[in-house]
Amino acid sequence: MTRAKLPPWLLLLMPAFLILAAVVLVPLLLSLYSSFTPYHLTRPETLWKINFPFNYEKALTDPGFWKAFGRTVLLLTIALNLEMLLGLGLALMVAKVRRGQRTLRTMMMFPMMFSPILVGFMFKFIFNDNVGLVNNALQSMGLASTAIPWLVDGNLALFAIICAEVWMSTSVFAILILAGLFALPQDPLEAAKVDGCTPWQSFRYVTLPFLMPFIYIAMAIRSLDVARAYDIVQVMTGGGPAKRTELLWTMIGRTGYVDARMGYANAMGYIAILLSIAFTVYFFLKLQRARRELGMGD
């Protein structure tokens, strides 16, 4: 009797499969399963009671959930575009610098080195209505006579949160775009000059198309980050007041860990993941198209 042997390729891949299963697949399946139950952290027996599709129905019919969903998409759209524009500008300027460019590049990355919690506290203080820097500066310069409630008004609070996000993460775009600029072949640019293109035309029709794959990669990475925005928002406003800055993950975090309704929180989490998948697929398709246009294949 001979023992059945696994093929060598499967044997070699087995450790990777096992580790992936343990750290990714099992938690994923467990959380998916718990989203079909009324699982409450302080009542472990609730994990064994199936109530599908109650949690999903409750989330999908809750106007609060959809408002948070919409607000997350809005934050994502504004923050990503602003970061892209500012990152592009920053990269183009830094690329022109001849002396001290390395120091500048390092300095540019400073905001990324801060913990998002710290950034949240910093901007919470900056935008505090009573003792904050912004209000004090505006009042000292005579530009405002009343305390502007930056973190209370829905639009202003979203603006303050976007400021914090943009401050911390613009450099992600800048660094990736700068890498693209360094890899930019000089021949097409020189040919454009010889053909009499203006600097704007050179940028628009030569530099920018070449940079697009880098921009889409940065967009895909940052869209995943912003779609699960939690820490900065939690510190600055906690999703409030009156749910005015409630995002998907502040809502899910509170439901899961403070209210202990983990089953319902996981159901909302799985719906929210669709948002991240949609943005990733969108940017991936754009990336493929941009690469094809450059003749770089798929």
């Binding site: 952290l41 302080t42 209505d129 009573n130 502007i148 906690g238 007041p241 009156a242 749910k243 403070v258």
Partner: protein, 436 residues
Amino acid sequence: MKGFGAGSVLALLASFGFAPAAMAEGEFAGVTVEAKLIGGQQYEALYSRIADWEKATGATVKIISQKNHFELDKEYKADIAAGTTGWCVGSNHSSFAPQYPALFTDLTPLVSAESVAGFVPGNIKAATIDGKLVMLPRAQFDVSALYYQKSLYADPAKAEAFKAKYGYDLAPPETWDQFREQAEFFADPPNFYGTQYAGKDEAINGRFYELVVANGGKMFNDDMSPAFNSDAGKESLQWFVDLYKAGAVPPGTTNYLWDDLGNGFASGTIALNLDWPGWSGFFNDPAASKVAGNVGVAPAPKGSAGVRTGWSGFHGFSVTEACATKEAAASLVDFLTNEDSQKLESAPGPLPSRTAVWEYIIAQAKDDPYKSEVLAAFQETALTAFPVPPTPYWIESGNLIFPELQAAILGDKTVDQALEDASNAVDELMKENGVY
């Protein structure tokens, strides 16, 4: 001679705060008690006494977690979910305790009746859930009294203008209506505000709750269905709305929590401040506070039903049901809440939960007019204080109520609409969980 010797030993033990029945020399030698304790400067001074307990009993205490209570709360819930509750001693709080009905054991058989009898009866009542004494309170009893800037009441021009406008003498408010009127009178935004309130999470929920009670209402009916959508509830929420609309509170107050309030009053830009006893030293410390030397303290005002607000709570220690060495753990809890521990902990300002220690600190403060004023105000308020409703859903229902309170304060909803929405949401929560 024999009797004298035994008496001397007992006296010596008592002088160290030892309850002889609970602790004997080397009684728990070799035992390790794992503990999850609340962290923070205000709470950690007491932990220096743990070494004394270790020395006396031969046991070792291993602190495996030290966080603020909101973080501990999440950790306890995760422990219950994962079944990892074999650690023994945990910090607890009267507002959070009803959420963990099975996590902590009944301390009654583990602690001497004499020791339990030394606590303020109301505290022991609030620490007893479903007939189980789930925690022993430490000297961190909290109820809010009124801090105010004394100079505002000593200004004759202000007194005259106030009387002309409102028809009664300007004096520290005794009712919440007077409080509102005075806050509106003193306000001069954006440089000076009449008052402020914690505007989110359990903080505003608690303030709303105590005002509802003071106005003659209640948060929940006996079957735990919501009862705050009532005349008393509307009157209470209107009070918050009126102050906000009048600009008598900072515009960001709906984002404030306790630290913001404490620092705000200490900055000298707030006239009246309902706050906790732990701040009394800070407010009168010239190195930390601009209002030092100018702080008056009065009992919490009364609502329209003639009832004083008095939302109270306290920190304490509990022993887990799954603890393998419950006797040792209970001995530690008893030790950390005994008279000597409470004297140490209440020295910088926090209020005790043992009757004898209340008497002790009042006697100690008799030569310090400010401290005497603080203690008198808080003692008066504590007389009619009340804990949160005894439901495991206090925090969870609060998370549904407070955004609606904020919506009314900020003008997104009317008072009626906000309370109706909050009441419906809490009703759904209770039904979903099979409460009724």
